[in-house]
């Protein structure tokens, strides 16, 4: 009902010849955003046409209601100045004098022709900044370790234990599921290939080496980087947003000692265990499929495994796990501490943290592969 009413009294224009023979344009109705509605597409052109006519007298006194949008519509049609002949009511006078006082919008900054260079430079500087901050963080960790070695009573046991539970125990479910499925798929595909050569027995070598040396540690590290890394970054980020980090500082509690060191130590301890667990479950999956597909007895599988897979592979896998765990925790905390106190930065920081952690985990794996290329392979 009300809606209809508004449309009926929407902005009107009436062109006529005034008493003294001058052309006269009388405006009426409601020049408000709500009342003009869809007509906003057509009105500007119509008004501009009238504005182009020289000597036209604009009479706005008949307008029932006009808001900022209505005033701007007219103002733009006039080319941001008053027409020569304008009749206004006092409250309209106020609207237009405000319009004259409005500041000009800031000019758009033209794009620098050197922007690709600038972008590249900025990227390199950012990378450098990250590296310096990471090295500083590692140095701080070492200082903390030295301090705690002489003050063992100050070791943050509770925090370490809580982190062990969160990053280790609570990760067992997802790593088992993923590990088992990968083991099943790997075993299934390999056994089909081996069957064609009649080399069924080598399934144990393939599964043993690939899972214990490579897949177990990598799967665990990538899952933990996604799961625990993101939560560590987000936790520190939220503490920054809510000023909890500042509250800790003014209480004289060191961030690195209470928040970061426990995470690094706990993940360094938890990761080898998670790796062991993931590898075991993946081997179990592979063994079950080998028994079904190839009829390889599981007792035989378990007996033969230590013979074909040198124990060095296991230590290599566990060592990788420990290094990856500590690096994931360090990177996550580094990004968490860099988050600024706004929500935008929180989201971006968490994404960057996970992406970086996973990339670095894979780089570490490649370095291990090169350095230990002569170890554990017959």
């Amino acid at each position: 009902m009300m809606q209809k009413n508004q449309h009926d009294s929407s902005a009107t224009l009436h062109r006529s010849i005034g008493e003294e023979g001058f052309p006269l344009l009388e405006l009426g109705g409601r020049y408000t955003l709500a009342a003009m509605g869809r007509r906003l597409h057509a009105l500007p052109a119509e008004l501009a046409r009238h504005a182009a006519e020289p000597g036209l007298r604009w009479d706005l006194r008949g307008i029932e209601q006009m808001d900022d949008a209505g005033a701007i519509l007219l103002w733009r049609a006039w080319g941001s100045r008053r027409p020569d002949h304008l009749l206004l009511r006092p409250e309209q006078e106020r609207l237009f004098s405000r319009m004259e006082a409005a500041p000009a919008p800031p000019a758009a900054v033209p794009r620098d022709a050197w922007w690709p260079m600038m972008m590249l430079g900025r990227g390199i500087l950012l990378l450098w900044e990250h590296l310096v901050a990471l090295v500083a963080l590692i140095g701080q960790m070492l200082l903390d370790v030295r301090y705690l070695a002489t003050h063992p009573a100050r070791l943050p046991w509770r925090e370490i234990s809580a982190n062990l539970y969160r990053t280790g125990a609570q990760a067992l479910g997802i790593t088992a599921l993923v590990g088992f499925l990968i083991g099943v798929v790997l075993s299934f595909l390999s056994s089909r290939q081996l069957q064609t050569f009649g080399a069924d027995i080598f399934i144990i070598n393939i599964l043993g080496i690939s899972i214990i040396r490579e897949l177990g540690p990598m799967l665990a590290a990538i899952l933990v980087a996604g799961r625990s890394g993101s939560s560590m970054t987000a936790q520190l980020g939220v503490m920054r947003v809510t000023e909890e980090l500042d509250a800790l500082t003014v209480l004289g509690i060191s961030h690195s000692q209470r928040l970061i060191l426990p995470k690094v130590l706990a993940l360094g301890m938890a990761m080898p265990l998670v790796v062991l667990w993931t590898s075991a479950v993946a081997l179990l999956g592979g063994m079950i499929v080998a028994e079904i597909q190839l009829g390889l007895n599981h007792r035989f599988f378990l007996d033969k495994l230590p013979d074909v897979v040198p124990i060095a592979n296991l230590w290599l896998g566990l060592g990788k796990g420990m290094v990856c765990g500590m690096v994931i925790a360090l990177i996550s905390c580094h990004f968490g501490l860099r988050i600024k106190s706004n929500t935008e930065s929180l989201g971006a920081g968490t994404t960057n943290s996970v992406v970086t952690a996973i990339t670095v985990v894979i780089i570490i794996d490649a370095i291990f592969a090169v350095v230990f290329s002569n170890v554990g392979l017959t």
Partner: protein, 257 residues
Amino acid sequence: MGKTCIIEVEGLHTRFGSHVVHRDISLCVRPGEVLALVGGSGSGKTVLMRQMLGLETPAAGSIRVFGESLHGHDREALQSLRNRWGVLFQKGALFSALSVYDNIALPMRELRTLSEGMIRDLVMLKLKMVDIGAEHAAKMPAELSGGMIKRIALARAMALDPELLFLDEPTAGLDPQLGEAFVKLIHAMRTELTLTIVMATHDLDTLVALSDRVAVLAEQRIVALGSLQEVAGMEHPFIASFFRGERGQKALGNTLS
């Protein structure tokens, strides 16, 4: 027309679990007035305001804004209703991913009827209205002080020249001088535009400076409703401590005598 209500609350009950917040509240906000909701913490003034905005659903009772139920299913009607009100949240609630300019331009762009040139002029006008210089237009909310955030949030609330404005603690978190300037700003807007304002506030100075009528929430209902003078004289423990306490007397001193 003088008797119609912009907002009509009838028989409103609110419960959170077994905790009763409102018991049978009825209220009428008249066109053009400034109605202040007052009450101790936990008395449910913010909840009542959120219900008027359709952000929360009452357990029983109805709320009609511009004669329209907030829980209707007509999308178009609800949208056009929402274009007629503006809301100033307590902490501003500026979109942190958008610049100051884009924050104010967002409601205008959502209308899809305004040209980008017109939006630019309108945004600059709104910024001028809340006394923010053009040099701040490109800044992000994270770079602004609390007072600026409040003023820009008010500019966003006023983006579509609403007929109804909700203010949640408009002066909370501002220093007294800024608070006073903010009250003056709202006052000036009222004289220029026909505005109905509903505000929840703790601040007595704001209350004295702006409100036409005061609704006092206590004991799960509205215990008093009327002009500041009428309400301040009523017998009720909360009113006595709020309006006739030391702070209250100071703020009300001139108005009551």
